[in-house]
Amino acid sequence: MRVAIASGKGGTGKTTVAVNLAVTIARQGRSVHLCDCDVEEPNAHLFLDPVFSARWPVTVPVPAVDQDLCSHCGKCADICEFNAIACLPDRTMIFPDLCHSCSGCWLVCPQKAITPEEETIGNISTGKAGELVFTQGRLLVGQSLVPPLIKAVKDVSGDESWIIFDAPPGTTCPVMATMQGVDFVVLVTEPTPFGRHDLALALDLTRQLNISCGVVINRYESNPGQVENLCLREGVEILARIPFRRHVASACAEGGLAVDADAEVAAALSELAYNLTARAVTA
């Protein structure tokens, strides 16, 4: 079962749910691999204290121009959908941070003046955190091409029975890269107008990607009506409601696990694990 934990709105508790769900399932004796796909700001490791056994760079091909071979025909700049190439009368300039590695420029160059060179965009670390297999991607400062790194992080996961991907916030390309190919998406929301608004966007995204999803309402206390009504109207199952407890927030701020801090929270995570297992059986 491959599950992505996403949200729309940031700060709803994606990482809290991903980490505590992974631990809950692992404690039930099943093999779990947690992948932190929030490569711009990975933070799941803060709660897990993993021991990494391997680390390697992830590269993407970007164009390099041999100015002596270049005839300045401009075909490379014309084909580039990302405005990463400026063809001037006596010089062709490349802006690698705009490049999406589509290969168009080096395929179209009639002079064979453009060749791909590998540029490092980030690193992957993998290892163990207790019983969990844990993998993390980390984008280098100054890089902006996120989806290839997320795909590389996802490729590390193997034959574990549960693979959990902690997604970045939002509904943009990095989130789509995290969701693609998973069996199920858990959308974590909070009972606020902002939470409801971004949940609607995230629901729309899962529909466009044609992936089944369910909702977890975090910080569940007063006035959850608008989020519950949205789920009811959209026909989306609420998989768990995690109560709002100050001492749980304190424990998380110390780097602790929510499931170890509060029995009701642990019960909510067990309920989520149970509901996902039921999905896995019927999938």
Binding site: A77, F82, N83, A84, I85, A86, C87, L88, P89, R91, M93, F95, L98
Partner: protein, 119 residues
């Protein structure tokens, strides 16, 4: 001399657009004929990224000697500098007013980008 001015509209009486790459119009001014010709720049104005790079290429292709704009970001400045196009920034007037200011001969071109880029 040929100047290009980033403009909010197609006419010399429109205001200089503070953003070079995403200006809706680029207006070409030829000092030999004292004529203004507007070029639609909406393709760049709506580009997801790299608007400055693309607009700078267009400015170079027009055979421009100098660009008058509000602010010029780092990538556009690199392209224009490589092609020997001087960049004058900080204009907050009409296109025609900017040209008159420039013709006064007192202005100095910028030597580094003065815009944030990526917007």
């Amino acid at each position: 001399m040929k100047l290009v001015i980033s403009s909010e509209g197609p006419n010399p009486t429109d205001r200089v657009d503070p953003h070079f790459g995403r200006a809706p119009y680029l207006i070409l001014f030829d000092s030999s004929s004292e004529s203004f010709v507007a070029q639609d720049n909406s393709a760049q104005a709506e580009a997801a990224q790299g608007a400055g790079v693309q607009a700078a290429q267009i400015v170079v292709a027009l055979g421009t000697d100098a660009l008058l704009t509000g602010h010029c970001g780092p990538k556009a400045f690199d392209v224009l500098s490589a092609a020997g196009v001087k960049v004058y920034s900080g204009f907050d007037s009409t296109v025609m007013g900017a040209v008159r200011d420039w013709q006064g001969g007192q202005l100095e071109p910028i030597t580094s980008p003065d815009g944030a880029g990526r917007h």
